[in-house]
């Protein structure tokens, strides 16, 4: 065991810092609230991170990386989060779709889609949830019927983040209705500009940057070569994608916890009663435990061990995030009710225990996969 950074971690962190400092405007941290909504800056950041090899540090240089190991990659991801590097405008593209394309895509698919996705030129949506298939993803009903060299797609997706701004979606469809539900699903890459696709944004309860959409498919034709993975193995693609999504989410949760703790501590200013100090300590411990458990999972995996701890990070991170902003509100006191920034954070936090698999689903995953409990 060793808590100190390796030479490789130190070196790569230093190079990343220099690059990020060179990219960010001088007043970036002072005016973070402003820059958070600066889409041009966020897009430029993704492009330049791709060129400089910081977008996907573990991948080769043609794909926005520099072939770093998993420990160094995590170091960069946490550093980016800690430094509040601009959020990727279409975060599920690089973090969920790109790994699935690498894992399951044909050579031609990778050739066609990866670079524009990673540069941020083409955005992607995840066509998973349906009105009657949320947590029960396997019961989805959007149908794809093979007709020669095409699939014909009919059905509806919902809660599809950024579909109205996306060029493509990974669309999960039922391709075989006669087998148990998770065995008859396929994943198709669908061009959302295709005839028969209708996208309707849904007005959000708060000013969120991540807009949900409804997406309707009406006799949409999709070439057979757009299958991602094997026909009827969409379940495997989805599970791999959800793993990547969970892995992305906990880092985002962690930095929100850090910001929440910082915010709460700032509004304590002298009114440090025993109860507030105890709660502050709890939240500080949450923040440390999320980050360090991430390192623990990665270093266990490098050593060839099993890392059951990966399975808890999304649940732990998202619930810690909510507890932290709740505490930030308690620390601010009754005036929190007129503090639009705090209210926004608290409201955004409500989504954290829903997207990427609800906390209830995460507890099932932990119970069954980490603890080996019987399935319900």
């Amino acid at each position: 065991m060793d808590i100190t950074e390796t030479e490789a971690q130190r070196e790569v962190r230093e190079r990343y810092r220099v690059w990020l400092d060179g990219f960010l405007p001088a007043d970036y941290h002072a005016r973070y609230a402003h820059y958070r909504g600066d889409w041009a800056l966020r897009k430029a950041h993704q492009r330049e991170a791709f060129e400089a090899g910081w977008l996907m540090p573990q991948w080769e240089s043609e794909l926005g990386g520099q072939s770093l190991g998993s420990l160094e990659t995590l170091t960069i991801r946490l550093e980016a989060a800690e430094r509040a590097a601009p959020k990727l405008p279409n975060i599920q593209g690089p973090n969920v779709v790109a790994p699935a394309l690498r894992l399951y895509g044909t050579e031609a698919q990778q050739e066609r889609y990866l670079v524009p996705l990673l540069r941020g030129d083409e955005w992607w949506a995840l066509g998973m949830s349906e009105p009657d298939a949320g947590s029960d993803f396997g019961s989805l009903r959007t149908r794809a019927v093979r007709n020669g060299d095409r699939f014909v797609v009919n059905g509806q997706k919902i809660w599809t983040t950024q579909a109205h701004q996306s060029r493509f979606a990974t669309l999960y469809c039922r391709t075989d209705p006669d087998v148990p539900k998770h065995r008859g699903i396929s994943c198709l890459v669908v061009d959302l500009a295709s005839p028969g696709v209708t996208v309707r944004p849904i007005r959000m309860a708060s000013d969120s940057s991540d807009v949900f959409c409804e997406v309707f498919f009406d006799d949409v034709e999709v070439p057979v070569e757009n299958l991602l993975g094997q026909e009827n193995d969409g379940w495997g693609v989805a599970m791999a994608s959800l793993n990547h999504e969970r892995d992305m989410i906990w880092v985002m949760n962690w930095v929100d916890v850090e910001r929440g703790v910082d915010r709460a501590a700032s509004s304590l200013d002298g009114r440090v009663g025993d109860d507030l100090l105890v709660d502050l300590g709890r939240r500080v411990a949450d923040a440390a435990a999320i980050r360090l458990t991430g390192y623990r999972a990665v270093t266990d995996e490098i050593r060839g061990g099993q890392s059951r701890e990966f399975l808890m990070l999304k649940l732990f991170g998202s619930e810690a995030l909510q507890r932290t902003w709740e505490f930030a509100i308690e620390a601010a006191g009754p005036e929190a009710v007129i503090d639009s920034e705090l209210l926004f954070e608290d409201f955004e936090g409500l989504g954290a225990t829903i997207y990427g698999g609800t906390s209830e689903v995460q507890r099932n995953i932990i119970g069954e996969r980490a603890l080996g409990l019987p399935k319900g």
Partner: protein
């Protein structure tokens, strides 16, 4: 950064698990509740295995290892609710003695390695106060006052006492046989780790056995070892609970398939791993020469707070998912519930340590 145990630490853990499964099974731990001498049968084995000298310098009969090694072992002793007074000496008193450069301290460390039962006295008349020197005073020639809830004091030959000296805290090394020392055994939750109030009635000590020292780093190590034991308790309770809910059927199904049960155990898992991560982190920070004392204090506070809270939650959840059987003497769970409670309240409870962690954060904030 690396959170993995090395090969030696892993073999130590494997050996400890094997030995304790045979030598300290729940039936013997249960017997220890009524038989105050039951622990003695295992003590020689523990000393021979080198566990008492794990973190004692080699020149003084130990293995010269660090806090990570103590944590590696304490987790396993927690899994088996070890009755023998290993942690009181090697885990609590030892790390504090290691921070003191005096012949008396080195003698006491050599004693711990050789099997002299030793313990650490910190709590004062009001154990809620976060002041390790409270309750006892050293006037330059005699030690007076009362230390409370001292673990294993009734079994110990040597007490390591934190007291108030004229210029700040001192550490006094006091044989329990010394005139003026009175050990008053108290009934407590876990008779396998008996507690005693210890009274010092103007106990005359050789000034060489009393040293003024900053007690922070030593006590941070003790708290981290205590946290590790509690993580072991959580770990084993979770295993026992998983076994039970996987085999117990109601309504025609294993009860572990019900979400109400599954989700509670998932929460125990998260609490346990949160505590384990913070405990390993604290041990590494304390072993790292490059980390500051303040870093060590914050890390140990988070570890002890998290482990104390997790152990109580795990024990109570374990009882709940077992149902009525867990309320009986014959069932093993009360052994863990007792140790969880004892450990959680010893060397600072979770509120004390969350408060310390919160205060440390505010101090470090720019």
């Amino acid at each position: 950064v690396n959170f993995g145990f090395n090969e030696d630490q892993q073999s130590l853990r494997d050996a400890a698990e094997r030995v304790l499964a045979v030598e300290s099974p729940p039936a013997l731990v249960r017997a220890g509740i009524d038989d105050a001498q039951a622990w003695r049968s295992l003590w020689k084995t523990i000393v021979d295995l080198g566990w008492t000298g794990l973190a004692v310098p080699e020149a003084h009969g130990g293995l010269g290892l660090g806090i990570v090694d103590l944590v590696a072992l304490a987790e396993i002793t927690g899994r088996w609710v070890l009755s023998a007074p290993l942690l009181s000496g090697a885990g609590f008193a030892g790390p504090l003695l290691s921070t003191i450069d005096s012949p008396a301290a080195l003698d006491a460390l050599a004693g711990i390695a050789a099997g002299t039962v030793t313990t650490l006295a910190v709590a004062g008349p009001d154990p809620r106060l976060d002041d390790p020197a409270a309750g006892a005073t050293w006037d330059g020639s005699t030690l007076s006052g009362t230390k409370r809830l001292v673990t294993d004091a009734s079994r110990a030959e040597v007490l390591v006492v934190v007291a108030a000296g004229s210029d700040g805290p001192v550490v006094a090394i006091v044989p329990t046989a010394q005139a003026g020392v009175r050990v008053e055994l108290v009934d407590s939750v876990d008779p396998n780790r008996p507690l005693a109030d210890v009274h010092f009635d103007a106990v005359a000590l050789d000034p060489g056995s009393v040293v003024a020292v900053a007690t922070g780093p030593g006590l941070d190590a003790a708290r981290t070892v205590a946290a590790a034991e509690l993580v072991g308790v959580c770990d084993r309770v979770l295993e026992i609970a998983i076994d039970h809910v996987s085999s117990r059927h109601q309504f025609g199904r294993a009860i572990g398939s019900f979400q109400a049960v599954k989700h509670r155990l998932a929460d125990v898992y998260v609490a346990t791993e949160r505590a384990r991560t913070l405990t390993y982190n604290a041990a590494m920070v304390l072993d790292d020469n490059g980390s500051s004392a303040a870093d060590g204090t914050a890390a140990a506070a988070m570890a002890k707070a998290a482990a104390s809270e997790a152990a109580i939650f795990a024990a109570k959840s374990g009882v709940q998912v077992h149902g009525a059987i867990a309320m009986t003497w014959e069932h093993d769970l009360h052994l863990f519930t007792r140790r969880a409670r004892q450990g959680a309240l010893c060397l600072g409870d979770h509120r004390t340590h969350y408060r310390r962690a919160g205060a440390a954060y505010l101090r470090a904030k720019p």
